[in-house]
């Protein structure tokens, strides 16, 4: 369990990125921080592995105040996947995945074997093991990033817009992959995105943020959809434009689903549930 207790972060230049933020992130579930650009998502995420230290307030992991923990040790037990994949350009895929295990003294052969297994886990062809990041597509790089985040078998996995830079098709593939991995591994995932659909798809708990890390609403996707706290949430989840209010219409003898703006959202399949 990760607890934020009245956490604020003011950067040296005076920017108040996060103000008085409190939240409990339950273990072994996925919590998604969602909000528009500059709302403090990355800052919140990076406070968990002490890449950023709060100006005031405290953060604890399973009851331990992290300000008392050594940053390097803390980071080695937390997986971190970033938007640009952050791979080391001079190391092969396998070596990138094995970076932290190698630092912690795992033997080369064993680290490589584990890296190959992880490539299977994230759906990467083992033939890519000896390629360099520059020889991979964006989607493949992201998979390597996820594999590297999982390499130390961390309890906590931090993901900062990990699928932001890939095309919609690959993104949806990676999202499904993550859902599958999470079903198997049940990590405590803290996931950052500005895409509300991604948040609803992946999050057990969704945290909607305004500027300054102000919480607009916390809840399960269903709770937020069913009962948006205010206009901001309404706008953010697209309810105000009727994007979430679907209805059925008859078009050329078939039943189609149309959203509040009259745009086609899909086709209704009679009775069957696939």
């Amino acid at each position: 369990m990760i607890r934020f207790d009245a956490v604020s972060k003011k950067f040296p230049d005076g920017t108040l990125a996060v103000a008085d933020f409190s939240l409990t992130i339950p273990s072994r579930t996925t919590t998604v921080l969602v909000g528009s650009s500059g709302s403090g998502k990355t800052t919140l995420l990076r406070m968990i592995n002490r890449m950023v230290d709060p100006t005031s307030g405290s953060i604890s992991i399973d009851g331990d105040d992290i300000s008392t923990l050594e940053p390097v040790k803390l980071r080695r037990r937390i997986g971190y996947v970033m938007q640009n994949s952050g791979l080391l350009p001079h190391r092969t895929v396998a070596d990138n995945i094995a970076t932290v295990p190698l630092l912690s003294g795992v033997k080369r052969a064993q680290a490589r074997a584990e890296a190959l297994t992880l490539m299977d886990t994230v759906g990467l062809d083992r033939a890519l093991a000896d390629r360099y990041p520059s020889q991979l597509s964006g989607g493949q790089q992201q998979r390597v990033g996820v594999a590297r985040g999982l390499a130390i078998d961390p309890n906590i996995l931090l993901m900062d817009e990990p699928f932001g830079a890939v095309d919609p098709l690959v993104r949806s593939e990676l999202q499904q992959e993550l859902v599958r991995i999470q079903k198997d591994l049940a990590k405590t995932i803290v996931f950052v995105t500005h895409d509300i659909d991604e948040a609803f798809l992946l999050g057990d708990q969704v945290v909607l943020l305004r500027t300054g890390g102000q919480i607009a609403q916390v809840g399960s996707p269903a709770e937020i959809l069913a009962d948006p706290a205010d206009d901001f949430v309404n706008t953010f989840i697209g309810a105000d434009r009727g994007r979430r209010a679907l209805r059925i219409e008859e078009v050329s003898g078939r039943q189609v689903v149309v959203d509040g703006t009259g745009r086609l959202a899909g086709i209704l399949n009679e009775g069957t549930h696939t």
């Binding site: 001079h90 190391r91 630092l103």
Partner: protein
Amino acid sequence: MNAFAEAFVWIGDPAHWSGPDGIPTRLAEHLGYTGLTVLIAVLIAVTLGLYIGHTGRFRGVSIGATSALRALPTLGLLTFLAIAFGFGIRLALIPTIIVLVVLAIPPLLAGAYSGIESVDPRTVDAARSMGMTEWQILWKVEIPLALPLIIGGVRSAVLQVVATATVAAYISLGGLGRYIIDALPVRDYTKVLVGALLVTLLALVLEGILISIQRLTVPAGVRAIRTTPSLRRQRAYGRNASAASRAS
């Protein structure tokens, strides 16, 4: 006979390939001064440059100090050191090496810190957030990626030192400068030219070697950006596509 031809004849004369004033001896001396200088300068300047590059501290100060160093007249400094500190002729090696080290520091320092600064800050950030210590970031990420630029600094330092090590002869030491310094008073211009030619030749050879080393130190993954066939195809495709869109 023209001067160059005479110089080459001089170089080709077997009589000039032995003894204390022979080419091998002078060449070895010259290389010795260069090697010693570059070694000392690398220890000082690269260490400092890595520190500045990694921490971002003292950057302004070092740039200022470096340009000040560049402005020092080598011969003047050499004379000053030799006389002021009484190194005299007996300990002539000390002021000579000091002068050459001063000369070698600016390019080495610049190569080292600009090399480290050229590493993508996001890569460094990723390394840190994975739990690398600052030393590990420096040794396993920054230095490997900065190596071509660091070697680039060594290259220009070596070039300058080789050319300037001729001043050693000015205060009674050896090296290829001897040919020039000894021959000038007696107007033996062939020998002056021989000295100049040999220094140039040595500089070219060292330059060639260092360029090869520099190429070899480009990390495979970085080199791959330029050589991956699939990527080249993609780029070609991008060009065609944009050409096509322009045409339509």
